[in-house]
Symmetry: C2
Subunit: 601 residues, 2 copies
């Protein structure tokens, strides 16, 4: 049995029918591209994924990297796979041609990396984090810094990390204590401990470029006193050759539930006389630069959640078609042959729910990628600004919805396989474990929910919030024209009305109770908003599928579009009504858990 990593037909639908990626080729930056070059990149990714990633996916999971006190050891196949990504140009496929990139739009690049992620998100982690690091320095570093650090990261000689978390301050960046002291050369000496640094040490590349958040001596307290530094593993001479080892030491490896090939490290900066660091931009503005990377990383996290859900769905679907077991309830003759388990009602539910979660989540991530293109390359300033506003608003949802519902999809994939889903002969239990990190890193679901309700909704006189509502209303107006879709459009309208009332109620509540009490159901609010947004994304898909069906497609396309409509219907009937449950909790200003005293637990 070889299940496809991803459905090619679905990717085609999303890229070219739902999001019209071809239109990108009208823009100056992408004018050398066309649908064929996009597809060629997708095919390259699929080939690398199937040739280098897929065969080692489970070995990477079962043979974790080790640390002998001196160096990190990992199975050599990881380096072969990482090198294949670099050599194929996939590691920096959005970067400028001048930097060795493919200059692909984000929306296409997202689908390209989806193949690699589906075949081994753990192994992909090394190059995708490097890419994010290089993007940040490109945006905020000096020309000299770009030359020294970005160029070798783009060509694969150096790797990159982001080093934020500290033992005493996880999500609470305001309390980070890593210090930076300016030395006589105008550089800084960095001292402190960082934990959970992905790819923090390994031998895959010649050098590792850490982006480190630290506090310059005398800086203000809290988040306003945080600066960002480039702190390399090895210093680099002016001619680009490697110099001596910097004062950065690997203190240990963490052993994770999943994502096991991607080393998670504890790093110790400045055990001797301080690690040499180079300031990025200005002092005390580090967090805003890091958020450049973090917003991008949040979309990537959502994407990993969605893609791992997609590949688990494909795997369990394939299994359910091929595995005979049991009979339909109506069949009373024990001598009749067993049916394939996809015939059983509850197995179909678990498959269709996975499709609804995974394809809804991934379409949402591609929307994010397209908005990211638009904010950079849309034709007018007004369009770019509008895209930025909507993307900024949607980011907590794009980060958290796929990372919450991706693992739920993988959980159903395990259940479809039954006992076989619980053992490592099949990858679905690993998908769950890999995916479980996504609701945690780059801001937990709880943090995303407060970002949405406390910041993004009221921000700029509700500009992002209104933009989101308007975008949904537009789709509703189109869907109402179709007999097949009008009922779903009405259901979404009703949920949006509920959402608006709920939003008003919870924001008004901060006048009559503490903000902590009023916002204690912020995750229910995120659930509510997330489900409304994903229902909208499904209605958008429904509009495309419905129109395509009316143009007498080939049988296989007809089946595909009917499947899309059925998944949409499932989401509207089995999931969207939950919005009213969450809305009630929020609108009631329920504080049952907030009122729970520590001594009562």
């Amino acid at each position: 049995m070889v299940a496809p990593l991803l459905s090619e037909r679905d990717l085609e639908f999303l890229l070219y029918e739902l999001f019209d990626a071809e239109a990108m080729t009208q823009r100056a930056r992408y004018c050398d591209h066309n649908r064929e070059t996009f597809n060629a990149a997708l095919q390259t990714a699929r080939t690398v994924a199937e040739k280098f990633f897929l065969p080692i996916r489970q070995k990477v999971d079962s043979e974790q990297p080790t640390f002998d006190g001196k160096a990190v050891h990992m199975i050599p196949e990881i380096k072969t796979a990482v090198d294949a990504v670099i050599e194929s140009g996939l590691a920096s496929c959005t970067a400028d041609y001048g930097l060795g990139g493919m200059q692909l739009p984000e929306v296409v690049a997202n689908a390209v990396s989806a193949y690699l992620s589906a075949a081994g998100s753990t192994t992909l982690g090394y190059t995708s984090l490097t890419n994010a690091n290089a993007n940040l320095i490109s945006a905020h570093g000096t020309a000299e810094q770009i030359e020294k650090w970005v160029v070798p990261m783009r060509d694969g000689r150096f790797a990159g990390t982001m080093a934020m978390t500290e033992p005493g301050a996880g999500s609470g960046l305001a309390d980070l204590t890593t210090s930076a002291v300016k030395d006589e050369n105008g550089h800084y000496r960095i001292s402190g401990s960082k934990i959970f640094i992905s790819g923090g040490d390994h031998e895959l590349n010649d050098n590792i470029v850490h982006l480190v958040l630290a506090r310059v001596k005398g800086a203000p307290q809290g988040v306003k006193g945080i600066s960002l530094f480039i702190v390399p593993k090895f210093l680099v001479n002016d001619d680009g050759s490697l110099g001596e080892k910097n004062d950065v030491a690997l203190a240990g490896l963490f052993h994770k539930m999943g994502g096991r090939g991607h080393t998670s490290t504890a790093l110790s900066f400045g055990e001797r006389d301080g690690a040499i660091g180079y300031l990025v931009g200005e002092e005390n503005k580090g967090l805003s630069y890091m958020f450049h990377m973090m917003n991008e990383a949040r979309i990537l996290v959502g994407t990993m959640g969605a893609v791992t859900a997609l590949t688990g769905y494909q795997y369990s679907l394939d299994y359910a078609k091929e595995r005979p077991q049991g009979r339909l309830l109506a069949e009373k003759d024990p001598s009749s042959p067993p049916v394939s388990i996809i015939q059983h009602g509850d197995v179909r539910r678990m498959l269709l729910a996975q499709k609804a979660y995974a394809e809804g989540a991934y379409a949402l991530c591609l929307l994010g990628a397209q908005l990211s293109d638009d904010e950079k390359t849309a034709e007018t300033e007004a369009e770019r600004k509008a895209a930025h506003t909507l993307l900024d608003f949607l980011t907590p949802i794009i980060k958290s919805w796929p990372s919450e519902y991706g693992p739920k999809a993988n959980d159903l994939a395990i259940q479809v396989l039954g006992g076989h889903g619980y053992i490592n002969e099949h990858p679905v239990e690993m998908f769950y474990r890999d995916n479980r990190l996504n609701p945690i890193h780059e801001g937990t679901t709880g943090i995303q929910s407060l970002d949405l309700l406390g910041r993004k909704v009221p921000m700029n006189q509700f500009a992002g919030y209104q933009a989101c509502l308007s975008a949904m209303e537009e789709t509703i107006a189109i869907a109402k024209q179709s007999e097949a879709l009008a009922g779903f459009a009405d259901d979404l309208s009703t949920s949006i009305t509920t959402l608006k009332t709920t939003t008003e109620t919870v924001l008004a509540a901060t006048q009559s109770m503490t903000v902590d009490a009023a916002f204690c159901n912020s995750v229910s609010y995120l659930n509510l908003f997330g489900h409304v947004v994903v229902a909208w994304i499904w209605l958008k898909q429904g509009v495309v599928a419905d129109a395509a069906l009316s143009s007498s497609p080939h049988k296989s396309d007809e089946d595909f579009y009917k499947g899309k409509l059925q998944a949409m219907a499932f989401f509207f009937r089995h999931e969207l009504p939950l919005t009213h449950h969450w809305a009630t909790i929020i609108s009631d200003l329920d504080t049952t858990h907030f009122d729970m005293q520590e001594a009562w637990f």
Copy 2:
């Protein structure tokens, strides 16, 4: 940080305040017992758990048993722990004194084994499966079989397994192909392959007694042609000494997501001339005997789900009290000290949800254990029959609700710890992995849902269904007397009304559509009924806590009872309203997923 395995105060509440375990001592079988002997057994279990299980809990997980083609190797600490359970008498604490047991009531024995389960459910698996095997042979075997197999299992020399699943037939027992041929001695020769046999081979005991389902040559097709056999690893001579090795071979070990210390094996029976097996009871009645064991095992599975949730809750609660991070939203001064994370609204939600799931689930399991006592030892035949009827009805809910909501609780425990929850320095990710088996084995959640809706509800003119409704009405009537509880009692009443209407609708639907279509939302029905039952269990706890509060308890007890009422309120406000969501799906006779064609996926 040493989090308690379980809350002693909560166990005391459940055993003595909610279920009145002391009343058991009025029954002849338990007349030598009193509260002190019960507590002594609990203390013994706690001591063994803390001394032998807890220190190796993570080692058992990280160092899986291996198979070198000849024998299974496991870390020696497992044998030490298993021996400690046997030597302390805890392995067969419900068994007769005459067989070396403690003759404890089930309700107390359940709490006793909860300590061991919390400290290492994997290691406990060996003795609990042996105990279930011995119980089955005691109930259905001959006096000679009991002497030969049960006695050495009770005293710990032999271990026991149940061997049902085959590679081609997982949940579909009707299709099992393992064969049995009667030989000249009146024994049978067994041939076939079994998979996922827990504890199928190891060196912990002198011998292993497999209970094997097989089909006698010429038996009817389907489940009516299945017989049950005792098939030992080593034959046993008439003097009780071990004879030659039987024709049972270990074909391999499975590597599981969790529960890693408990070997899961593929066994090959009869590779040479057939493994010698001894028929239990009569031919072709094997499945009914196995269901004796399976009903017991289903309650045990629910219990494992609940206990693993309880211990994860205790662990994350302890962590949340001790871990400082961030500030309340209302606090704008960055120089104020960070608060412990239990102060954050969303962390409190995740803790209170765990309490509501875990304590609700465990109270439900103890109700099952008490009904199991009552069906055997209640004073009158009518009481015994009533207990049997209710327990039989509730079994699919007792099996599945804790095994579905236990992992959800563990998932929240991971989230409370954030990044620290994802690494193996803390056990919460292991709890999740261990617990994830429970919705699968001993009948998946899907199978339990069909057992409930298709069999248990209509069975015996709705006798069990009506008994369950009556029991709930009784609690509602009591709760209505209290001002603090009346509103909750009304909410439960409303949900029960919805449940009744939904039940009528879905059963009537089988007249107008195929049974497979009508029952395609059986899991929603199980969710609906499960939530109503757990709300009832919470209301029962609320009644006790409310009464206790009015009698001016000590401060620590007052806090405890207030916590119970708050968890009850949380369940009623955040969970019970979901029953209306599920009821709508079922009552609409929604067939969206059932109508999904294979080609559309």
